[in-house]
Symmetry: C2
């Protein structure tokens, strides 16, 4: 629905009350198409739903600078609120000139059919220093960072900030809308289930039994701590992911199987889609991943080795130190009250033929199955060792890689799926 | 004195009481020479004097990560304390191996004569990810950043943190030691003068009459605000500066003339040297410049256009937006109580033949004399317009450039001067 969205500056120049602004039609079109289907649409939806609260829209310059320099912004009460990843909307020279020439203080986001999706009010346009944004967010400017290539490199040289209101909740009608729960809807769901603790698990990969063990073990620990009904928020990231990650629609099918087959207990698990693009920005991004889940009611956050990390795009090493994500998260301003649960390492126990927590005293019994290894097995229709993943979940993966075969030789491996 | 300093790991392994540690001689030498005369010595002196308080030495990894990500570290009372620039000590693989093999928890910094200058205790060695440090500190990784070339590019791949104690105050016997006042000494001096407000002016350039106007005008404003005795801390940076900046010893001569000739009032001015290298890291560094002066008793800080900025090393533009320094400083965690005084723009008024605040209503009357223009005039023994700088001060500049002439054709333009 948000394909090829365009912007339109709206009249009159005078700011209207917020409740009016969303319904006022924008008479002056600036006619600016956005380049990619999902990225801006996902961001607009995410912000409007409150994931980035207290941010009310796309960042103005003061918020952008605070995010870049401090990974936190000062809230209205003077306290620091965590905000590590810039949430911004880029426009190019022509768009900027058109908006400024219109004199508008409000700009409409419109879809390909020119239907307004959202209104950005009390706007501010400022320079988009891409090099500085990239360096301060990723700690490198090396070419080949997936999100940079996807959403920044060819973006406009200006950023437009303002308060955002969507005209109506954005639906995609792709069979996944029931998983698209806002922070408010998630809080309601947790209340409905009488959860007295919510622990969040961020993921962008299929769930194997090592993940599942970790999540069930976490629930056990919380029960031992005295909580009566800890609920898991299984929260796959729904926005942009890099080309070799499994697409959202297939991951959701896989997650459904994991619950169907009882690997995770549906009674104490809420599955929902997190509407954010993956930045692969390691210690900077893990703060965003945790902060957003707090806004949705989570008070425990499971953090793993090298969260949101990846290989360095041009050097033979990991981009981030594997421990920095956890360390930075534990010290981050605005996240003082979050309980961080360090990820225990699970591996395949060849003796017990199941995934279990790694035991260094008998390390030769354990097999580490990397994401790359898992993908290679599924691509080649090979089976992983018994007990690595539930059979239905594995079948979904094999089907996904099968579905790619007809388009072999084509450069387009998969359809983008909106969050 | 600190030339070719080397490190030595000290025995015994067990940590001693801090008061003992500084006098304990280090029996086990690791024998590691540092590359440049001033940079590590200046940093050690600066930290030991309390400029970076509450930091008690070179950063351990948790402080390093907080500085990089948050430009602030959490103090013992849980509050954020501003700390924007990493204050770290690099060691190479061989040094790391030698220190670790010695089992020492304390390391001595020794000078060229193997005389211990300081002791680093309760040490921690961790990875020096230079790319990430540079990207997050400068917002670019472009080649040609002066401080990176000077102190990071060829530094070791490890950082060693710990609590630092100097054996005795470091003297340089270069005729400038009387200007090397610690924060405690400056606070005493302000108290002795009965200052009820201290306003700091950071500079790395000769003082022209535009600067002087700004400082005298600031004092006037503070008097009008009701302060009885505002005192100026004229605080030239004493550590590393880039090759085309005027060296410290000549700048100090120039500043002396400015006071001798009454352009600034010696009664209400304290001149001292700030022991820090110049990073040219713009909005990140200006926080350090302000924070350190707060530690020395300043409560007002004058911030100019593009503080600590420079041209982009590889692109035809300024590295930082000229307004970002002031904006970032005004929002920085841990600097909430600092009063920031924005720098008014002064220029040469050709009608009145003096430096004055720029009046946009008669902009053609004003001449902007850049640092480059000033240097070119002095190099060519030309005179600036009357009233641009006091004659004695200008003479010092001309003498400085004259002093370079004999060594023309030599690549070494000037002697490094320790802070």
């Amino acid at each position: 629905m948000a394909t090829q969205a365009a912007f339109a500056a709206s009249f009159p120049q005078l700011a209207q009350r917020r409740s009016d602004s969303a319904v006022a039609a924008p008479p002056a079109r600036v006619g600016v198409a956005v380049r990619r289907r999902s990225s801006k649409g996902v961001a607009a939806r995410g912000v409007s739903e409150g994931w980035a609260s207290p941010l009310r829209g796309f960042m103005r310059e003061s918020e952008f600078l605070q995010a870049l320099h401090f990974n936190a912004i000062r809230g209205d009460d003077g306290r620091m609120v965590n905000m590590s990843v810039p949430i911004v909307l880029a426009v190019d020279d022509a768009q900027r000139r058109a908006i400024e020439a219109s004199g508008a203080r409000r700009v409409a986001l419109v879809d390909a059919s020119d239907r307004p999706l959202a209104v950005l009010s009390d706007i501010e346009i400022y320079k988009h220093n891409k090099e500085e944004r990239i360096a301060r967010t990723w700690g490198t400017t090396a070419p080949g960072l997936p999100y940079v290539d996807e959403a920044i490199k060819n973006a406009g040289d200006w950023l437009i900030g303002g308060d955002l209101e969507v005209i109506e909740p954005i639906k995609y009608n792709d069979g996944l809308d029931q998983y698209r729960l806002s922070p408010a809807q998630l809080r309601e769901e947790f209340a409905r289930r009488n959860a007295d603790a919510v622990f969040a698990f961020q993921l962008r990969n299929p769930v194997h039994n090592g993940h599942a063990l970790l999540m069930t073990d976490t629930r056990k620990c919380l029960l031992e701590m005295g909580y009566k009904n800890p609920v898991l928020l299984l929260h796959p990231l729904g926005g942009f992911t890099k080309a070799d990650d499994v697409p959202l629609s297939w991951r959701m099918k896989q997650h459904e199987k994991v619950l169907e087959e009882g690997v995770l207990n549906p009674e104490s698990t809420v599955v929902a889609i997190f509407p954010s693009p993956m930045h692969y920005a390691g210690p900077t991004e893990v703060q965003w991943h945790a902060k957003a889940r707090i806004n949705a009611g989570a008070n425990f956050y499971i953090v793993g080795r090298d969260p949101a990390g990846m290989g360095h795009p041009t050097e033979k090493r990991d981009l981030y130190d594997a421990d920095h994500g956890k360390k930075v998260l534990s010290m981050a301003p605005g996240l003082e009250r979050l309980n961080i649960l360090p990820f225990k390492v699970a591996a395949y126990d060849t003796k017990q033929k199941k995934m279990d927590f790694f035991d260094p005293s008998r390390k030769d019994d354990f097999l580490f199955i990397s994401g790359t290894k898992m993908r290679t097995l599924a691509k080649n229709r090979q089976s992983p060792p018994d007990g690595f993943m539930c059979p239905g979940g594995w079948k979904v993966l094999v089907e996904y890689y099968d579905s790619l075969t007809p388009s072999e030789g084509s450069s387009k491996l998969r359809e983008p799926v909106a969050a």
